[in-house]
Amino acid sequence: MSTATTHDAHHEEHPSGLMRWVTTTNHKDIGTLYLLFSLLMFLVGGAMAMVIRAELFEPGLQFVEPQFFNSMTTMHALIMIFGAVMPAFVCLANWLIPMMIGAPDMALPRMNNWSFWILPFAFAILLSTLFMEGGAPAGGWTMYPPLVMQTGNAFPFLIFSVHLMGISSIMGAINVIVTIVNMRAPGMTMMKMPLFVWTWLITAYLLIATMPVLAGAVTMLLTDRFFDTSFFNAAGGGDPVMFQHIFWFFGHPEVYILILQAFGIVSQIIPTFARKPLFGYSSMVYATASIAFLSFIVWAHHMFTVGMPLTGELFFMYATMLIAVPTGVKVFNWVSTMWRGAMTFETPMLFAIGFVIMFTIGGFSGLMLAMAPVDFQYHDTYFVVAHFHYVLVTGAVFAIMGATYYWLPKWTGHMYNEKLGKLHFWLSTISVNVLFFPQHFLGLAGMPRRIPDYSVQFAGFNEISSIGGFAFGLTQLLFVYIVFKTIKGGEKATDQVWEGAHGLEWTLPSPPPYHSFSTAPEVK
């Protein structure tokens, strides 16, 4: 995409070079910025994971001190959640929503620019804490007081960067809602929207509902520390458990913020490669909506051990188990979509199938964790670590990678290298299971999470897990290589790209014009 040609083709003035990216209000440019940012954060967060797995390779302290180890787990989680996965989904929203609903751009382009450009500052602030007196935050991504109060100089920077991330997410969410509600092409009724658009719309509401709650919680931490309030300080009449309730009221919907769009992506990919329409479109929409609703009333399943009253524990146990129903409906629908299709297995399809299988494994362990009487044993062990990495890595991250392979030819006009793509899939799938599957065993055998050192009985599986971790980490360099190579060049992609692809985005040229649909298409 040379700036010269875009110039010729358009009446508007675009600055070139760096200023083009700083001042851009174009949904595709902003999508690209989000993609690159997310990739960068994925590598930074991944490097931290490598430190963690290196230290856990064998018993004893070898490479880092416990305090720094805790900083690594804390920063790894914050960076992966807020810096890698969430921005990746916003990248996809920017690139795809206007093209999928037949709009020229996002509804609020200037706000779009802002919501991206806040992020580099938020993460620069967060990462700068690594060099501060007292070290980077080490109290866990959940920031529970009173422990988080022991953070050194990094404390206010942590809070401020969380505020910035929240502002960025909320602006992104507003933009998504306004775009979807107002800018659909004639004939594109709500129940005709691609599922990816539906899942993003629902997620955007979740974001607007929960991000301010997080902001409130961390602001209360801030005033507790600097202005002598005692929201969470027992000695001052406050309640440390209240923080956990507020945090998880944000936190549980947040985990669905990290997965609903992945459901959407997989619901786009599978029909394409099965050459068959999605099974149960409307039940998919209703299932997504009910998951979103239920996600607000299950938060305390993260807190079964804090000493809630029996009735509270029962309520949250039942509600959590209930979430498995709509989740199951989705999985059944995907399998039925494949059933009696005519499938081919290009890289996006491989990632989608990998997603369905491994996300379901994560769903199973979620169901197990939902059972309060057994969660007393599972809670805060590696079993939980295995659970959330199955849903987040082989779930959310696999879906994002699948989406990248699926739409990259559309975005760049070039096909990626299919051989390398498949290699990337298989290496990732094998290594990620070597990495996380043994963690189920570790947790069941009694290894707590968030510890830098462990007793000798856990040595075997930790070693295996670390080997898987290094392999998975290295494999992702291949992904970076493939993406950049495809951006630079490659076999010319057709407009439809995939034989079985349906939807407005595939009617545009590859790469699509600067303003996606200058005249709205007619949807029948």
């Binding site: 866990g140 099974f279 149960g280 000493g307 979509t337 009696r340 805060d380 009694g446 707590p448």
Partner: protein, 375 residues
């Protein structure tokens, strides 16, 4: 760190081989939840196996259908894609059936939960207090009270000595309980949140400042059971193990009598005047087990996180200020209040030690009676 691709594939293959090899060595590696030694732990285990089997069952059906489809319904076999895309009956069925399975799971889970939360009619109550990074135990009924900390030497942690069998899972003074008695724990914390967990006893509970949580267990077999703190509580969260020794009635009574004798001896020791050498020797011990984790064995602390005591303002300043700081801690920081964790003798010794070690040489001596007066 860069390895070639083949090597990478080999390591991955080796990893998987090890994974399957491990199944046969399940006993060594520990693959599953333990059945444990309490009624609760057995109940948790049974529920765990039940839900695991249900999940595996569902998994076999769902993944089975998927694999059949992947094998049979592929374009390379020349199939024509069918175009069906809904079926209300099927969709209602696969909403209702999972729901019923869940109801089936919820019933035993509810029963188990009700039993676990019933802490009434306990034979014995013990208060458990989490400190950064040790556990305090107070026997409510007979006044026995002590602190239990990690006994693994630093040399093993830093790989300078061979790790022994119970590496990181050994303490200087275990919690002792009688078998076949319903023991109720009253769990709280002094600084940050911790969680008390011994897998074989079947339950964990958070220790939260300002809260007193309850849990109970009834150990059915004499023996030693090990666990760890299960809630991130700062730097040494991985280094605050729990050891429970369950003894027969007679052995337990003997242990209680011994403890009472020791308590008396300690009381007498607190009343006499201690010599400088005695204080320094005891002080060094206390320092290494209670203070060195943060302030370091050489007294130099960790810049930015934990202040140096070598030449420090407090350790070389007025004695009263020093005693008061150690007794009451410094709120809002990791510096704990040691008033309830250490005895008068221990406090006197450690303050004396800090004032004279590492070239501080103030020459001051603090007696147990001074500490008692400052409390």
């Amino acid at each position: 760190m860069l390895v070639t691709k083949t090597k990478r594939a080999l390591t991955a293959a080796a990893g998987i081989a090890a994974l399957f090899g491990a199944t046969s060595a399940a006993a060594e590696y520990g693959l599953n939840l333990t059945t444990g030694v309490t009624p609760i732990s057995r109940e948790a285990y049974d529920l765990h196996m039940l839900i695991l089997e249900v999940c595996i069952g569902i998994g076999v059906v769902v993944f089975g259908a998927m694999f059949i489809s992947i094998i049979k319904h592929r374009k390379s076999r020349g199939v024509q894609p069918s175009q069906f895309h809904e079926s209300t009956t099927v969709e209602i069925l696969w909403t209702i059936i999972p729901f019923l399975i869940l109801v089936g799971m919820a019933i035993p889970a509810t029963k188990a939960l009700v039993a676990m939360e019933d802490t009434s009619n306990a034979d014995l109550s013990i208060k458990v207090t989490g400190y950064q990074w040790r556990w305090g135990y107070d026997y409510v009924d007979n006044g026995i009270s002590f602190i239990s900390s990690l006994a693994t030497p630093k040399d093993q942690i830093y790989n300078k000595a061979k790790k022994d069998e119970h590496y990181l899972l050994e303490v200087d003074k275990p919690l002792v309980v009688p078998v076949n008695k319903k023991v109720r724990l009253l769990i709280t914390a002094n600084d940050v949140i911790h969680a008390w967990w011994v897998p074989a006893l079947g339950m964990k509970k958070d220790a939260i400042p300002g809260y007193i949580n309850e849990m109970w267990f009834k150990v059915e077999k004499a023996g030693t059971y090990r666990g760890q703190c299960a809630e991130l509580c700062g730097k040494d969260h991985g280094f605050m193990p729990i050891v429970v020794v369950a003894k027969d009635e007679a052995d337990y009574e003997k242990w209680v009598a011994e403890q009472k004798g020791e308590a008396k001896a300690d009381e007498q020791a607190a009343q006499r005047t201690w010599s400088r050498d005695e204080l320094m020797a005891r002080g060094e011990k206390v320092y290494n087990s209670s203070c060195a984790a943060c302030h370091q064995a050489n007294g130099e602390g960790v810049p930015g996180a934990f202040p140096a005591l070598k030449g420090g303002a407090v350790t070389t300043g007025p004695v009263a200020g020093h005693i008061s700081l150690v007794l009451n801690g410094k709120p809002g920081t990791a510096m704990a209040a040691f008033a309830n964790q250490l005895s008068d003798v221990e406090l006197a010794a450690v303050v004396t030690y800090e004032r004279n070690a590492w070239g501080n040489d103030t020459g001051d001596m603090v007696q147990p009676s001074d500490v008692k007066a400052a409390r």
